[in-house]
């Protein structure tokens, strides 16, 4: 790949989730040259790991498909997967960016036929299912993967498994000699859409995520409910594989807490309300959801969704932040201890499964933010001192998909303005 295509008129978008894709496409559709880099092997980010969106309960495949179609039809965007930004120097209108490209070990010849996957026996944790199951070490990240190309996990390179994958490929697509590459490019403006990650539930010691099998995070629950997920869409308890029918949701698991994340993550209330409807979908009238909350924070038109869930007789709400979780040793069911705020009643309630609605924090793995970037007290990106770089989506603030797209469009607009200014200064 040559670096000559990128100039100081180019916009670099870092992160290929829903926000990064949107920012790249909006800028490209304004006629700007865009480079979209993504550190994982596929675009789609955490959005592609959701089962459904709120409030319409539609599937993420829909929104992603539209964006992928826009992407395929637009020659202005160049997508670089498995690429991280190692360094950014320079200033507004004239950045020098160092990119590091990890080897995929599979070249452009790949047709995603899957023969390499069948030939390989080693397995690695499946990132698309938050590691809840395993996947062959030669794999397609998920059904909607873009580029639609297999990846070979570096762990099997140089082993008989790697050679077996190479031998199985009819298209000469497996190239085990690929090396990490470093590329220098220029850019006029940078959009950081580096996204979020779930707060590490192990740090919330009284909830025992590290000790109790039947305490899981909301992201893991999302995968359990998805027919593409590790259980084929059945809500099964990790401890014994039995169907979970009495499910507790704990809100503000990490959020709104000076000991953990000081901000409100905004999406978790709606995510939980949405997930109570998965429970109903999976187990019907037998299913019971109990939501333990401090305040339910659903914003503007989403209030309708909340009111509908409130009418659901199988969903109950307890106004209380759970103090701690103990374990019923006989059946491995978690017992929630606390005091509710409406009457100050002490409770010790047993549930089949506990879902921690974990907060959002900015992703930092593989993210090298330049000095110029200004962060808020929770490390979300506010902007840059020189005004040439912008945060977009949940790298800038805890946002749902809808609002991440709005934020990305705004960031693209600002980037386009920077490019216009650069161009007019140089012309003058």
């Amino acid at each position: 790949m040559t670096a000559s295509i990128a100039t100081n008129q180019t916009i670099l978008v870092v992160g290929g989730g829903i926000a990064g894709m949107t920012a790249a496409l909006e800028a490209a559709e304004c006629g700007k040259q865009v480079i979209l880099v993504e550190k994982s092997p596929t675009l789609g980010g955490r959005t592609s790991m959701l089962y459904r969106y709120f409030p319409k309960m539609c599937f993420p495949t829909c929104g992603l498909e539209i964006n992928l179609r826009r992407l395929r039809g637009n020659p202005n965007v160049r997508v670089m997967s498995m690429t991280e930004v190692a360094a950014v120097t320079g200033s507004r209108g004239d950045y020098n960016v160092t990119l590091k490209v990890q080897p995929r070990f599979i070249n452009e010849n790949c047709t995603a036929c899957g023969d390499c996957g069948k030939a390989v026996s080693a397995e690695v944790p499946n990132v698309a299912n938050y590691g809840l199951d395993k996947i062959k070490a030669a794999y397609l990240p998920h059904g909607m993967a873009y580029p639609q190309r297999y990846v070979i996990d570096p762990s099997i390179v140089g082993t008989p498994d790697g050679e077996a994958a190479k031998a199985a490929c009819k298209f000469d697509a497996v190239d085990l000699g690929m090396q990490e590459e470093t590329i220098e490019i220029k850019a006029g403006s940078v959009v950081w859409a580096t996204g979020w990650r779930p707060y590490d539930a192990n740090k919330i010691q009284p909830y025992g995520y590290d000790r109790y099998a039947n305490v899981i995070t909301s992201l893991e629950f999302e995968r359990l409910c998805d027919p593409q997920g590790p259980t084929g869409g059945k809500v099964l308890r990790p401890s014994d594989g039995k169907e979970a029918k009495n499910i507790a949701f704990i809100q503000c698991a990490g959020s709104r807490d000076e000991n953990h994340l000081r901000h409100c993550s905004r999406i978790c209330c709606m995510a939980t309300l949405k997930q109570t409807q998965y429970v109903r979908e999976a187990a019907g009238e037998d299913a019971k959801s109990t939501v333990y909350y401090i305040d339910i924070r659903v914003i503007d038109r989403l209030e309708d969704f909340y009111q509908n869930v409130q009418k659901d007789p199988n969903v109950s709400f307890v106004k209380s932040k759970v103090a701690r979780i103990a374990l019923n040793e006989e059946n491995n069911s978690p017992i929630l201890h606390g005091v509710d705020t409406e009457g100050y009643h002490r409770y010790a309630t047993e549930h089949d499964l506990v879902v921690l609605a974990v907060g959002m924090e900015p992703e930092v793995v593989g993210v090298q933010l330049p000095e110029d970037i200004v962060l808020d007290s929770s490390n979300f990106i506010e902007g840059s001192k020189s005004g040439g770089m912008f945060g977009a989506g949940s790298a800038a603030s805890p946002l749902d998909v809808n609002r991440a797209v709005q934020s990305a469009t705004a960031a693209a607009m600002r980037s386009v303005q920077v490019i216009h200014k650069t161009a007019s200064t140089e012309a003058a």
């Binding site: 401090i294 209380s320 932040k321 201890h337 705020t341 100050y344 002490r346």
Partner: protein, 206 residues
């Protein structure tokens, strides 16, 4: 004592939260409570007292002055600090509990005969008088709090512990006469009197 109470009632008429903010140690934190209930659920004494910290904070805001100050709940606090380390808003809950207890005591509203209050008073009386706690006199005073007969019974029950402490050199029977004091007791008394004068002026208890 009633005068202090009457003055406070007149001054903060109907606004108990303001009164707590002005007069109770760390009282200005009370308004920061968001009623999540983690303190109540985390308290090891939880089931044994009437009002949890969370409830007390709400009662303060609701102006339930008598119910709060006459309650024995804050006297039950054992200073384990579980509530304080878990509070998502970092309220110094343990300190507020002690602050409320102290304020209620100073107004003469605290429940009479509450055992934790009695032990706290004996402890501080000893510390203020000698400049350090005279453990022998302090424990004997505790034993004989409910009369002579009960005191002898208590002392006999604790006999082996006392002997053990003596053997280990942790308890000196001679302290009953000579006392276990600091070098300059009158200096300590003056310092404490001055500190109390300053604090009482600040809290409007002078």
């Amino acid at each position: 004592m009633t005068t202090a109470n009457e003055t406070a009632v007149a001054k903060y008429r109907n606004n108990f939260l303001k009164e707590v903010e002005a007069t109770v140690e760390e009282g200005h934190w009370v308004k920061m409570c968001m009623q999540c209930g983690v303190c109540a659920g985390s308290c090891p004494f939880g089931p044994h007292w009437e009002h949890s910290p969370q409830k007390i904070f709400m009662m303060i805001r609701a102006g339930k002055r008598d119910e709060v100050l006459k309650s024995d709940s804050m006297w039950m606090c054992t200073s384990c600090y579980n509530c304080m380390v878990r509070c998502p808003r970092e309220l110094p809950i343990t300190h507020i509990m002690h602050g409320l207890a102290n304020y209620a005591y100073r107004l003469g509203l605290s429940p009479k005969g509450q055992p934790n209050q009695a032990i706290a008073k004996l402890f501080w009386d000893s510390a203020l008088k000698y400049g350090r706690v005279n453990e022998l006199k302090f424990s004997l005073a505790m034993y004989f709090r409910d009369g002579f007969v009960q005191g002898v019974k208590n002392a006999l029950a604790m006999q082996s512990v006392g002997l053990g402490l003596m053997k280990a050199g942790r308890l000196n029977p001679m302290e009953i006469i000579s006392g276990h004091t600091c070098k300059d007791t009158s200096g300590i008394h003056k310092m404490i009197a001055k500190a109390r004068e300053i604090e009482d002026r600040r809290r409007g208890l002078a």
